[in-house]
């Protein structure tokens, strides 16, 4: 598929827009629709498009396997870490009120990091599943 110039050009235009839209969905989730899960899925979808058009090897060079596998665990760690931070600051597990002096600001801070954790884990898992699926039959590898 990587020889088709229309697909290459269009996806080159689309992938950055998709990634920026993912960031918008992530950091605007407090105000508009969206949040960590949606952002993570959109990031993964943009990377899958990159792998489909430019080949699995190029995608693996851009986002290597070790990074994806780390992201799978890191997201849950960030989420649980926010909970533990609440414990250490004298509140309950996942208590956001104690995360800042102003309780409402603490809520926003806690929700921000929790959503970051969700996005990291979700995009990592989606990409990893795609990598192992695509790697099995060498379905999308570059032709030599």
């Amino acid at each position: 598929m990587n020889r088709d110039i229309i697909l290459r050009v269009v996806s080159k235009l689309l992938i950055p827009i998709a990634l920026i839209f993912a960031l918008y969905v992530q950091f605007h989730g407090e105000l508009g629709p969206g949040g960590g899960f949606q952002a993570g899925v959109i990031i993964a979808a943009a990377m899958v498009l990159h792998a489909l058009i430019f080949g699995l090897a190029a995608a693996r060079a851009l986002v290597p396997e070790w990074l994806v596998e780390t992201m799978v665990a890191l997201g849950v760690l960030v989420y649980a870490g926010v909970g533990v931070a609440g414990l250490l600051l004298g509140g309950n597990f996942l208590d956001y009120f104690v995360l800042a002096r102003d309780p409402a600001y603490g809520q926003m801070r806690g929700i921000f990091w929790v959503e970051v954790g969700v996005a990291i884990s979700v995009s990592g898992v989606m990409l990893k599943i795609f990598y192992v699926f695509a790697g099995r039959g060498r379905a999308l590898d570059d032709k030599p």
């Binding site: 989730g29 949040g35 899925v41 649980a80 990893k128 599943i129 790697g135 099995r136």
Partner: protein, 183 residues
Amino acid sequence: MTETLAVGALLALLVATAIAIARLRNLFAVVALTGAYSFLMAAVLTALDAADVAMTEAAVGAGISTVLFLGALHLTGALEAKPAQRPLIPLLVVIGAGILVVYGTYGLPGFNDPAAPIHTHVVPRYLQDGPRETGIPNMVTAVLASYRGYDTLGETTVVFTAGIAVIALLRRRRRPKDGEGKR
């Protein structure tokens, strides 16, 4: 009125797509139609003002799972085998179960009914106190990440576990070198 019409038309298209998926034997067409099904579903959810779910449905259902299905087709064949006998009994079971489900919906409160239990129990508290307590205008995010933070942590752990399970099952093992007796 227009919204009801649009949702009705979309639901009719969903039924038509589902019937086509069940009848087709060409799996490439089936994968394409499941993608279309997901986009229709996302449109229905948008019409119902559930933008968060619609976004997820479009990205996961139509995007990533379509690609995964195509990857699976590459490993298998693109044509579904004909069933050994006519699946009459399963068809009857499915129709019976479907009738039961539809019958069950008559016990539910009406669509958009403001007196439904879900709208009278905790929702008023979230709507009234949520913005003041969390300082976040988007109620979905406030409920998801703050009021129901434990649930969302559980969901993230489920995603994590699913990812680990897929890695454990599908990770490409190193091919045994010639002469080694391992299978």
